[in-house]
């Protein structure tokens, strides 16, 4: 699998480290349900079959976090953007 780094260009996946789900938002630690919210944030994942948004770290290249739109069943990558400025 090759990941199109917006800066470096297409690179082998071995140059990247995988973090996972890029759709999560860190909960408010001051909220009354913070313990449950953080449990979900840290441990619970949907494991989608199909389109997914993921964080990959380009450790062997530009050392930037990249947000990648990947199909988990085909590995087809629909797009990638640097975390800095990512939507």
């Amino acid at each position: 699998m090759r990941i199109p780094c917006p800066y470096c260009g297409a690179r082998d996946a071995s140059e990247f480290a995988y973090l996972g789900d890029a759709t999560l938002t860190r909960p408010d630690p001051a909220a009354p349900d913070a313990a449950d919210a953080f449990h979900a944030y840290v441990y619970l994942r949907d494991n989608p079959a199909g389109a997914h948004s993921e964080w990959w770290y380009h450790a062997g290249g530009c050392r930037r976090w990249v947000k990648v739109a990947r199909d988990t069943t085909t590995h087809a990558i629909a797009g990638a953007e640097l975390a800095e400025g990512a939507r």
């Binding site: 800066y7 470096c8 690179r11 082998d12 140059e15 062997g60 290249g61 530009c62 930037r64 800095e84």
Partner: protein, 198 residues
């Protein structure tokens, strides 16, 4: 052909000289100590001011891309957004030379951090194909193109020199022996000349 590596401790630099079948010469690899080296990191939001200062003060067109920019013996290699390795062709006070950029960028001395390896010859790309996972055909990686990547598990930054089938690698100093072993093991079949350039 690379039996020389079998008896050489993995921590010891292979000796200068020819490797491979007698009378063949396909690749030359010259190891050298960069005369002066620094990293340049644009301050947040300072990219445009930095590019302007580089143009006015150094005559350097600082491309924010994995490319080589060069002016007056000073080479800038894009390694990440807003980041470059700056390599001086000759010894001198690089810090003083870069001082006009300091308001717009963090500048860090790196001269002893890397060694340089210049690789050329008719089989240079055949050797590199065994370790570089990028397409180095001139159509895909033209003169002046640069990349940071892993070669034989060693992280490197490299570029293709303008107008020639010559590549220059910057390798972290502590990995120089491992990288030289990769060069010998991969290049011997084409006839490799390993040289330490003074």
């Amino acid at each position: 052909m690379t039996a020389a590596l079998d008896i050489l401790p993995v921590t010891q630099m292979p000796a200068d000289g020819p490797y491979g079948p007698a009378g063949t010469h396909g690749v030359t690899a010259r190891l050298f100590d960069p005369p002066a080296l620094a990293t340049l990191a644009a301050r947040r939001g300072g990219g445009i001011a930095l590019a302007a200062a580089a143009r006015v003060e150094l005559g350097l067109d600082l491309a924010d891309a994995p490319r080589l920019s060069r002016a007056d013996g000073l080479s800038a290699i894009g390694t990440a957004p807003g980041r470059w390795l700056l390599l001086a062709g000759t010894e001198g006070d690089l810090a003083a030379r870069l001082a006009p950029l300091a308001p717009h960028a963090a500048i860090t001395e790196q001269t002893d951090a890397y060694v340089g390896v210049e690789i050329d010859g008719p089989h240079a790309r055949d050797l590199l194909a065994k370790g570089v996972s990028l397409d180095l055909d001139p159509a895909a990686f033209p003169p002046g193109a640069a990349a940071t990547t892993n070669v034989a598990h060693v992280n490197v930054s490299f570029w293709r020199e303008p107008g020639e089938d010559r590549f220059v690698f910057l390798v972290a100093r502590s990995y120089r022996v491992a990288f030289a072993r990769f060069l010998v093991a991969s290049g011997a079949e084409y006839g490799l000349e390993l040289v330490h350039r003074g």
